[in-house]
């Protein structure tokens, strides 16, 4: 080893060691590679949502267009001779011009430009001249005898075989009305501009059941979150601090219940609701979710970590348990409470299978957003833009809550889940 290089090397090693503390990679190429992967994955995660936003502002026709596009576009309407006409881009005399469609349904021939039957040219029949001759032409493996016509293309006359009849539109240059061209309207390229049809949102809100579903979902979610917070705080405190017989055994039962999937409970819960005559009411979506074993567990764990000295001081002061709970424990437990609240919120807002079985399909008064969206997805299959406006509205609130609670949520969810 060269002794002159030794000190610099040591410094490099030190730097490497410092980075290594957190298992970091050092080379610039690895960093670039990591960013590329992270960005590609982020694009995959975001694309469906971008697609949703774009489609939610489209017209119905635009949302079924092929090839699909992200941004909503509208055909541009121009004025020609005092009339409102759609604009198209058409090749006139070899150059692309912005033209107005002035006449449709002109009888025309579809002429073959080459041996490839899809390489064609359409021109009105009264502007071509038959040569009286025919030519053999192969279409889909079959040889046909086609009439040959003299067709003007960009000012030159070319002899072309006619494959079949079609109809074309007449397009006139907006700036120079003497220049005209013909083309099949359906395959012509319309002039389009980007325009957002935000009215889709008000349209979807005008659907009575949807509007009602939003109100219901908000109501149900608030009640469930409040209920879960209350029962979890009370239950968590009871398990953490109060001493009563059977406490630990019941706590094990609670823990066990976290593992039981909801589907096992669907049928008996449904039966109970039918017996109580609660099905088809909003209450059926609230009461069964007032208690949460997970939340109770979470709060108990958090309460256990609060030092006992704090409450003992309060007990000496003569404070009641109730007051101790709300003035000492609750304010100290904000991170856990925020996590639990976010969890309950997402659960209540997005729950689907229980409202599906507990509320009749036609019952709009007690419908919630998930069900309304599902119904809309079925009935409005030809109106994706309305479905997507609805989906966007339904996702808006969870997204806002997520952004607001991210600090607690992302960091605490992870650690609390692992305890």
């Amino acid at each position: 080893m060269n002794t002159a290089n030794a000190p610099t090397k040591t410094r490099a090693q030190q730097r490497a060691a410092r980075k290594a503390r957190s298992g970091e990679v050092t080379s610039i190429w690895s960093k670039v590679g990591i960013y590329v992967v992270l960005t590609v994955v982020a694009a995959m995660m975001l694309f469906p949502f971008i697609f949703m936003l774009g489609t939610s502002a489209k017209t119905s026709a635009d949302s079924f267009r092929f090839p699909p596009r992200i941004l909503p576009r509208d055909p541009v309407i121009g004025e020609f001779n005092g009339e409102q006409v759609p604009l198209y881009v058409i090749s006139i005399e070899g150059s692309e011009q912005q033209t107005a469609l002035v006449e449709e349904g002109i009888r025309a021939g579809l002429f073959a430009l080459s041996d490839d039957p899809t390489d064609t040219y359409a021109w009105p029949l009264d502007r071509v001249e038959a040569t009286g001759t025919t030519v053999d032409y192969v279409i889909e493996g079959e040889t046909e005898s086609l009439e040959v016509f003299r067709v003007p293309i960009d000012g030159e006359i070319v002899e072309l075989p006619k494959i079949r009849n079609t109809s074309v539109g007449r397009f006139v240059d907006v700036d120079d009305p003497s220049a005209e061209g013909f083309g099949v309207v359906r395959t012509s390229q319309p002039v389009e501009d980007i325009s957002f049809h935000w009215s889709n949102y008000s349209e979807v809100l005008d659907i009575r059941s949807f509007d009602r579903a939003i109100t219901n979902t908000i109501l149900v979610t608030i009640l469930v979150v409040a209920g879960q917070l209350f029962t979890s705080i009370m239950g968590g405190y009871a398990f953490a601090r109060l001493k009563w017989t059977g406490r630990d055994r019941l706590f094990v039962a609670y823990l066990g219940s976290i593992m039981i999937p909801f589907v096992v409970l669907i049928i008996p819960l449904f039966q109970i609701m039918v017996r109580l005559d609660w099905n088809n009411t909003l209450g059926v979506l609230v009461w069964p979710f007032f208690y949460t074993a997970y939340g109770t567990f979470l709060m108990r764990q958090f309460f256990l970590s609060i030092p006992k000295d704090l409450e003992e001081a309060a007990v000496v002061d003569g404070a009641k348990r109730w007051r101790i709970l709300w003035t000492i424990f609750v304010p100290l437990s904000w991170p856990a409470i925020a996590t639990l609240a976010t969890f309950s919120f997402l659960y209540a807002w997005n729950s689907f299978i229980w409202p599906l079985v507990a509320v009749d399909v036609g019952n709009e008064d007690s419908s919630v957003l998930t069900i309304a969206l599902s119904t809309l997805g079925g009935q409005g299959a030809d109106q994706p833009q309305l479905i997507f406006a609805g989906v966007t509205l339904a996702m808006l609130v969870p997204m806002l809550v997520f952004v607001a609670a991210q600090k607690y949520f992302v960091e605490n969810v992870a650690s609390s889940g692992l305890k």
Binding site: S22, G23, E24, Y35, L38, I267, S374, V391, A394
Partner: protein, 323 residues
């Protein structure tokens, strides 16, 4: 506590009782003992001779399930076994797809590079967006004629065909109507939604690994790659167990995605029952045909499977702690 009894313990016992009855939820309960379970697990192994019709050798109500040459396995409730097979295939594909990429992404996010928080938030979005909305979006993306995914295939194959001598036709799968791809379509949606949440879990686990371990490894000359395999992965074992267990349990209860993706043109069981899962069967039996007794039995069988996985998880975890 009262709520626990009213909405949990009570229903649980009641459900267990109902699973031994034949009940439509309205009329009187009729005790039929183990018959619901016998219906679920009823299998018949038999062979069929030459010139014999299959129906001749099968017991009454039994339907052919699998056949190798002359050997036949028949089931009393064929759909249960179809659903079981579907959910196993689904879990075995979807869980790795939702876990491995999450591990890699978490390792990348753990590099403390600028912008990491942004990526972490982006990956988490699908987890909060709600499965109904997400399924509606994917349904449109999967559209076989105007959907973005098949269009993406066209463009991608156009690129490939730029290579000299390449002339391929882009595949245009019918994602939601071809019985051979439907289950895989659902796998994609599920993994896409679960991967971000798992990434965050892994990331939390990684941040709990002591930095001195990496430091020691660096001094021994370990590269980033070997550090990942020899330190990160072994130290993450508890997290990995947790993530695999929760994702599997979630996968086994697959229902919502199916209900949205295939409605209203098709049943949630998909074309040719290709996406029939236990929960879908439970829904159809319990709430469309109102065989609530049988549906309860189905629920308990599903619970037994999930419970077995949970026990397995806890046992592994305890072993780890002990070791």
């Amino acid at each position: 506590v009262l709520g626990f009894l009213a909405f949990f313990a009570g229903p649980l016992l009641f459900s267990f009782y109902v699973s031994f009855t034949s009940w439509d939820g309205l009329t009187d309960i009729e005790w039929i003992g183990l018959d619901n379970y016998a219906r679920i697990f009823g299998l018949q192994f038999t062979t069929v001779g030459d010139g014999q019709a299959v129906t001749e050798v099968l017991k009454q109500n039994y339907q052919e399930l699998i056949r190798w040459g002359d050997f036949i396995i028949a089931a009393r409730d064929r759909l249960f076994w179809v659903g079981l097979r579907n959910i196993l295939v689904f879990s075995v594909t979807a869980v790795p797809l939702a876990v491995f990429p999450a591990l890699v992404l978490a390792a990348f996010l753990n590099q403390k590079l600028p912008g990491v928080k942004f990526f972490r938030a982006v990956y988490f979005i699908p987890a909060v967006a709600g499965v109904v909305g997400i399924s509606l979006i994917w349904k449109q993306l999967y559209n076989a004629t105007v959907g973005f995914i098949n269009y993406g295939f066209v463009r991608l194959w156009d690129l490939i065909n730029l290579l000299p001598g390449a002339d391929f036709t882009a595949p245009q799968p019918e994602w939601l109507s071809n019985a051979r791809v439907t289950l895989f379509s659902v796998v994609i949606v599920f993994a896409w939604q679960a991967v971000g949440f798992n990434t965050v879990l892994f990331l939390a686990g990684m941040q709990g690994i002591s930095g001195s371990l990496y430091e020691a490894a660096s001094i021994d000359g370990a590269g980033a790659w070997s550090k990942f395999w020899r330190i990160t992965v072994p130290m993450l074992r508890p997290t990995t167990l947790f993530v695999v267990a929760t994702t599997t349990i979630l996968a086994l209860q697959l229902f919502n995605e199916l209900f949205i993706l295939f409605a209203p043109q098709q049943q949630p069981s998909g074309p040719n029952n290709s996406t029939l899962t236990p929960v879908v069967q439970l829904y159809q039996e319990g709430f469309q045909r109102f065989n609530q007794g049988f549906a309860s039995a189905l629920a308990w069988v599903l619970f037994a499977i999930i419970f077995a996985i949970t026990i397995l998880y806890f046992r592994r975890q305890r072993e780890d702690v002990a070791a």
